[in-house]
């Protein structure tokens, strides 16, 4: 339904999006995840035809957003980062105007406006001016505007930004309920959002796709080390040396300074379950084993892992550059 092929967007010398490709199948909810400034908004703006791509192309329902913009836009609903509301219009007036420019026929107009207000639960404020709405309502009116002409594709740029926790949950439920009828692509930098709403995740960093897959997939694929958390009653002894001596343990981190109970996070090599060895060691040392569980790497860890690894590399590059420059200066 959505196809992005080798998309590149540069602003002068700055490359905001660098050769991104991905696909979204009909009815899917896909999350674009990335830190601020990663290129999520730029990607979405190209997809909606708001800005043209420097290179590559984007297809919505088979229509090239640049070559056949009207056809593509007809099938797209878009919620920008700030909901595009006219403060002087009432919600109903605003949605009626949007219905007109989105080509909703006169007979369907009123019905569609009412239906989308109901769906996004803004019908109780239908006659309030958009400028007087709270942030939560503004966001929902923005969403109502996006689904108004019943588009095949919904592009939502940070749909839950600035909402309170209750509204966030409601909005996520709403988005989930829209999937199936619509193909949805949403961007966020909030991790739990992705694992809760999206079926698939595309992680973008510095304008590139660094990982793609279901949240479970990513978790499995990127688990290079496993962590086991322990709570032991050592009666004051330091368990580090005993634990590190076990074959396969690569690191031990103590995270409790209580006199008797010690919490330890033990990092182990991938693919070997060391829980038995750990338990055995604890018991042979005469300590009490209070808790033992293996910790799965969360999406958050993966995200940080992916985005900081590159940062370190970039940092090294920069350091090298500075070094070479100073050497040149010396010469």
């Amino acid at each position: 339904m959505i196809e992005v092929q080798h998309l590149t967007k540069t602003y002068g010398s700055v490359t905001a999006v660098d050769d991104i490709s991905f696909r979204v199948e009909p009815g899917e909810i896909v999350g674009l995840l990335g830190p601020n400034g990663a290129g999520k908004t730029t990607t979405m703006r190209v997809l909606t035809g708001y800005i043209p791509a420097t290179e590559g192309k984007a297809l919505i329902a088979g229509f090239d957003v640049f070559e056949q913009p009207i056809d593509a836009k007809q099938r797209t609903g878009y919620l920008p980062e700030t909901p595009p509301l006219y403060p002087e219009m009432t919600v109903r007036e605003y949605l009626t105007f949007v219905a007109r420019i989105k080509g909703v026929s006169r007979v369907d107009r009123e019905r569609r406006v009412e239906a989308s207000m109901e769906r996004t639960r803004v019908d109780d404020r239908a006659d309030s001016h958009c400028g007087k709405l709270s942030k939560g309502y503004r966001q929902r009116v923005g969403l109502a505007q996006a689904i108004l002409h019943n588009p095949d594709v919904l592009i939502l740029d940070e749909p839950t930004a600035g909402l309170d926790p209750k509204q966030i949950i409601e909005t996520r439920e709403l988005i989930k309920s829209l999937a199936g009828d619509h193909t949805i692509i949403l961007s966020t930098h909030i991790l739990p959002e992705v694992s809760q709403t999206c079926e698939r995740v595309v992680i973008i960093h510095r304008g590139r796709v660094v990982a793609e897959g279901t949240p479970d997939d990513l978790t499995a694929r990127l688990r290079s080390t496993e962590t086991i958390s322990l709570q032991i009653d050592t009666s004051g002894a330091d368990p580090t040396s005993a634990l590190i001596a076990i074959d396969g343990v690569t690191g031990v981190r103590l995270n409790s300074d209580l006199a008797s109970v010690v919490g330890a996070e033990v990092e182990t090599v991938q693919g070997r379950d060391l829980r038995r060895d750990l338990a055995h060691t604890v018991v042979t040392n005469g300590w009490g084993l209070l808790e033992l569980r293996s910790i799965r790497m969360s999406l958050e860890d993966i995200f940080l892992h992916l985005t900081t690894e590159e940062d370190v590399a970039a940092h090294n590059d920069a350091a090298n550059l500075i070094k070479t420059t100073s050497e040149t200066a010396d010469a």
């Binding site: 967007k9 602003y11 905001a16 730029t42 703006r45 909606t48 035809g49 708001y50 800005i51 043209p52 913009p69 009207i70 056809d71 836009k73 007809q74 797209t76 878009y78 920008p80 980062e81 700030t82 595009p84 509301l85 006219y86 403060p87 002087e88 219009m89 007036e93 105007f97 949007v98 007109r100 420019i101 989105k102 080509g103 505007q145």
Partner: protein
């Protein structure tokens, strides 16, 4: 066409949802009314003189020539000040508030948006001019003016206003800041107004070019009741060029992001 109307309707609605339309139409009516009474008083004094002294004063007075024509020329000056305020927000406000993103991602062509905005501003301008019909019809009640020069004057005012609106849209599409947009539009209007002042002190070719470019030079014939296609073509091509440049400016903004 339906899309153009939808945009135009929204424009007019937002003029009337804020005090803008009321202030602009109201104050324009006030100023026009003042000019009207001042010129009328002068005209009456003149006609009285002609009646009393016959050949010693001005030989004849004509209500079209001595009353309506100066009035229309004064109206163009008021328009020079008023129209920048009508157009200054059209694109600037949409860019500032982000609603431009809605328009540009809707199934509309750039040209439809521009024509819609142009039509919206022209609608407000026409309402402004419509108020002055009241003053003119009073002249028909108490006098006997010819309607032809009046009709051409209104056509001239509409075309002149159209030029201003197209320049205003162009400038508004280039900035987010309404004050910058308004001031720059006013400066360009004024420049177009007085561009022929230099004409007399330049060579013959430049003189001709400058005179041709002057936006008021072309209004003169309209105010006399002369409908010359040369002037109509000038105004229409001016408007088309302005709107064309606006389309280009909106597009280039998108490329820049």
């Amino acid at each position: 066409m339906r899309n153009i109307l939808a945009i135009a309707r929204k424009e007019v609605m937002s003029y009337f949802a804020s005090p803008i339309a009321y202030v602009i139409i109201g104050l324009f009516a006030l100023l026009f009314g003042y000019f009207y009474s001042a010129i009328l008083a002068f005209f009456l004094r003149q006609s009285l003189q002609v009646g009393q002294f016959g050949f010693s004063g001005p030989t004849t007075v004509n209500i079209n020539q001595d009353m309506i024509r100066p009035l229309m020329l004064n109206a163009t000056v008021v328009i020079l000040f008023v129209l920048p305020m009508v157009t200054m927000r059209s694109y600037s406000e949409e860019k500032r508030s982000g609603t431009i993103e809605l328009l540009l991602t809707s199934p509309l062509s750039g040209l439809q948006i521009i024509l819609g905005k142009f039509a919206g501003a022209m609608a407000l301008y026409s309402m402004m001019l419509a108020v002055t019909l009241v003053h003119i019809s009073i002249l028909f009640v108490y006098g006997d003016p010819e309607w032809m020069p009046i009709a051409t004057s209104y056509l001239g005012l509409l075309l002149l206003g159209g030029c201003f609106v197209s320049v205003g849209l162009l400038i508004s599409s280039m900035t987010k800041n309404q004050v910058v947009s308004g001031m720059a539009t006013f400066a360009v209007f004024l420049m177009l107004w007085v561009i022929n002042w230099l004409a007399d002190s330049t060579g013959p070719t430049t003189q001709e070019v400058l005179t041709y470019l002057s936006i008021t030079e072309h209004f003169d014939d309209f105010s006399r009741g002369v409908l010359d296609t040369k002037h109509v073509v000038y105004y229409l091509s001016f408007i088309a060029f302005g709107l064309f440049l606006t389309a280009k400016a909106v597009d280039s903004e998108r490329w820049k992001g």
